[in-house]
Amino acid sequence: MNHVVGSVNDTIVAADRITRVFPMPAGPVVAVRDVTLSIAPGEHIAIRGPSGCGKSTLLHMLGCVDAPSSGSLVFEGHDVAGLNDRARSLLRLRHIGFVFQRFFLLPMLTAAENVELPQAEAGVPAHARRRRSRELLEYVGLGARADHRPSQLSGGEMQRVAIARALANRPRLLLADEPTGELDQATGEHVAALLDRVNADGTALVVVTHDPVLAGRARRVLTMRDGRIEGEVRQ
């Protein structure tokens, strides 16, 4: 990957006045407008705001699955705009973990196999990725369910497997989009606690959520409205 423009150690991702515009038949829609944000290693950030305020779009840009229409985004020293699709895929594979509201586990694979997937794509040898998958499933409290398929797991268990999968390649940044959105309150609490533990163990965490309780666990809480960061609270 080329386009190294910043230090690798002090910031994982730095967004400078990034804007995302979606062309629509009725006219362009500005989903994210002039957002400047940097995420340091080990940070715990929550992004909250009403539906349609641009939280997920911002998260997708920070995770390099979407590109800003303008502004600059630097991930671990690499100008993301200068990376081709393959380089971005590699960057996501090795440095970023994603947790989705709807889990997106592959139903034909067991929990352990789902956790192995990103490792296999990264070229980790079979014995090493099996060991890592078992460790991660133990870490999320599902060691006994390693051979179960998603259809045999509860919603909370599926999200815990998804978190284990996101951690498979030891990312520096974990992005979670409404991770408790499909879970009941008690199960959501367990998942939130697990995410806290992941962060405490050194992985920077950005959570997009409607849930004020989940947002309240973060040390930085960004509030978005109409595509802008309206406020930031450090706690």
Binding site: S56, H60, V65, D66, S89, R92, F100, L109, P118, N169
Partner: protein, 393 residues
């Protein structure tokens, strides 16, 4: 487990009904495709095998037509002697065919009556022996059964050798044996004897006429044919290859055209079937695919997964199509051979390695083309928009 092929296998097993339907569809289409490929060259190959099996590699005719379809060679005896003296020629057999009535007691059969000169014989003895002297003939199995004749019995032959209805007096022949004659058709009687005996039965002894001459070269059929044409400019000499070429230019091209049209239709059907099933399958998994891309799976990898699914469907269906196609070919061959005038030894469907190679290549190309559209969907999948849409939906 994680290799694209194994991953694709898991994806197919996940939807067993749909995958089974796809594999069965490809198996049926593949079987039809194989049969069309066998049919396109079957008659030509069968004809070639039949010509080769008779032991001659050059045919000489009086006109520019296929042997037996044009004018007679009026001086067949002299022509045989002249051609037989050529250095590249091992043997010459004059062959003439006429119509005849065969009678035995109260039984009668219309028959093809064939006269041949010299050796090798054009028939294969099944029972009894070759005619050893004058007044002997061989019958085919159908004639022997119809007239209830066995070797040693006597049969009366009334030959019809001219264009008029006047027939020479009947002649008695002794049945030397029962034989399989080339180009025999089912439920048609045939008898064969020496050319001289046929001429006597025709009432024209020593006529020395033949429909064509069958020649065995010393090894180089093309050189022998060229030498014959040079020696007798009034005759046409065809190697077996040239004869097959003429056959291919003639009526047999219909089968190739029909099989080409049907093969194209079956491949198109397979394309649509696989494309639709893969597209539906991919569309149902867009969220999962987008999630995999977000987790770092490359575009190449997710495209390869779809291609592997197509390859597995077509590969499994194609493998099943081979026995299915062969069974179907035997059945269809039996039906087509019931057409009148088709020699017993001729087949419409003939197994040949090239047909299997083409079958495999066509199916592989089908898999590739059928996967093109779903692969394009996956390759161009907007990750962020898909993840957003999945949540909204």
């Amino acid at each position: 487990m994680m290799a694209p092929l194994a991953f694709a296998w898991r994806a197919l097993v996940r939807q067993p009904a749909r995958s089974t339907l796809a594999v069965l569809g490809v198996a049926a289409v593949g079987a039809l495709l194989l049969d069309m490929l066998l049919l396109s060259e079957g008659l030509v190959l069968s004809m070639r095998e039949l010509l080769d099996r008779m032991g001659f590699d050059v045919r000489v005719t009086a006109g520019d037509t296929l042997p037996g379809a044009g004018p007679e060679i009026a001086d067949a005896t002299a022509a045989s002697a002249a051609i037989g003296a050529l250095p590249g020629v091992r043997s010459v057999t004059a062959i003439r065919s006429e119509a005849a009535d065969l009678h035995h007691r109260d039984r009668q059969a219309d028959a093809a009556f064939i006269g041949v000169s010299g050796t090798p014989r054009v028939w294969t003895i099944l029972r009894g022996r070759d005619p050893a002297g004058r007044g002997e003939l061989v019958l085919n199995q159908y004639a022997a059964e119809t007239l209830r004749l066995v070797p040693g019995a006597v049969v009366t032959v009334r030959a019809y050798c001219g264009d008029d209805d006047a027939a020479p007096p009947p002649v008695e022949f002794r049945v030397a044996g029962v034989a399989e004659l080339p180009f025999d058709t089912p439920e048609a009687a045939s008898a064969a004897t020496f050319l001289g005996d046929l001429e006597e039965a025709c009432g024209t002894p020593g006529a020395g006429r033949a429909d064509f001459l069958a020649v065995t070269s010393t090894g180089d059929a093309a050189a022998a044919a060229a030498a014959i044409t040079a020696a007798r400019a009034d005759l046409r000499a065809f190697t077996n290859d040239q004869l097959i070429g003429r056959v291919q230019q003639g009526g047999f091209t219909y089968f190739r055209q029909i099989s080409t049209v049907l093969a194209t239709i079956t491949i198109t059907f397979a394309l649509l079937l696989i494309t639709v099933l893969l597209t539906v399958s991919v569309n149902q998994r867009l969220g999962e695919i987008a999630a995999l891309r977000a987790l770092g799976f490359s575009q190449r990898r997710v495209v390869l997964d779809v291609l592997c699914e197509a390859a597995l469907i077509v590969g499994t269906g194609g493998a099943l199509s081979l026995p299915l196609g062969l069974v179907l070919a035997v059945w269809l061959d039996g039906i087509l051979k019931r057409m009148p005038g088709i020699p017993t030894e001729m087949h419409f469907f003939v197994l040949e390695p090239q047909a299997f190679v083409v079958h495999g290549l066509l199916l592989a190309a089908t898999a590739l083309v059928a996967a093109a559209y779903p692969m394009r969907i996956v390759a161009r999948l907007p990750i962020a928009a898909t993840l957003r849409n999945e949540v909204i939906s």
